[in-house]
């Protein structure tokens, strides 16, 4: 089933939102295909926010809605592949209508950033190979 909105336009709106807030997009991977008659779209953005790498993924959810996923992988930021925490926040089934889409993007992004800030404030590094997690 074809989407009732222009997915590329939603990606553009998301990128404009991020760029207006000084967020640097370092990588973008787009995948737009039709699978068994259904549009299957995704855009994966790797971003830098205050020297932290965050991943943002936008996908179609239904033919007139989208989903957005925010992720912070500790391993991507600290090269620590042991015991890696992941902070995730997502919104499913968000409206493609421009005003509502912008409103939810704004609200969800800042909620995720606040969650991330709590995590970063409370996290302490591993010292001398010994487990020293502090949340």
């Amino acid at each position: 089933m074809a989407l009732k909105y222009d997915f590329k336009e939603k990606v553009k709106e998301l990128k404009e939102f991020l760029q207006m807030r000084g967020i640097n997009i370092t990588e973008e991977i787009n995948n737009i295909e039709v699978v068994e008659g259904y549009d299957n779209c995704s855009c994966h953005l790797t971003c830098e926010y205050k020297n932290k790498i965050i991943e943002i993924m936008l996908t179609n959810c239904s033919n007139d809605t989208l989903s957005i996923f925010y992720n912070y992988w500790h391993s991507s930021n600290n090269n620590n592949f042991r015991m890696s925490p992941v902070v995730s926040f997502s919104i499913m089934d968000l409206s493609s209508e421009k005003v509502m889409f912008g409103y939810i993007i704004n609200k969800s992004f800042y909620t995720f950033i606040e969650m991330l800030n709590i995590y970063l404030k409370n996290y302490k590094e591993i010292e001398d190979g010994e487990v020293k997690f502090q949340f």
């Binding site: 809605t65 890696s84 997502s90 909620t111 997690f133 949340f135």
Partner: protein, 120 residues
């Protein structure tokens, strides 16, 4: 079933023990011994949360805490999900218990922030 160098069931029981001290109400558990996976469902302060525990490799585990707004409010539009997970936690009980407790408490902080700030 993968051969583990630790007792998976004991780790799951330790999570349950800890949550009982936090006044979380146990709802149910789904267990898949083939993939070494346990999903615990709890009510914590009137909120339904899921806790997934799975083996990462033969010496470590992953724990994942999940809040789905649609499960709590039966609202599928603009539906938020909050997740916090820690992968590859050493299975040694003293480490596992420490990380499990810390990660649960951090997840609850995320949840409280969401409830306070994210006005639908």
């Amino acid at each position: 079933m993968e051969k583990l160098n630790f007792n998976f069931n004991k780790r799951v029981e330790r999570v349950k023990d800890y949550l009982s001290t936090k006044n979380a109400i146990f709802i149910n558990e789904y267990r898949d011994d083939k993939t070494i996976f346990s999903r615990l469902m709890y009510i914590y302060e009137d909120t339904l949360i899921n806790i997934n525990i799975l083996s990462y490799d033969e010496n470590s585990l992953t724990i994942r805490y999940i809040y789905n707004d649609y499960e709590n409010n039966n609202n599928h539009q603009d539906s938020p999900t909050i997740e916090f997970s820690v992968q590859e936690i050493p299975a040694k009980m003293v480490h596992f218990e420490r990380i499990m407790k810390k990660s649960f408490n951090f997840f609850i902080k995320m949840l409280k922030l969401y409830k306070d700030k994210y006005i639908r």
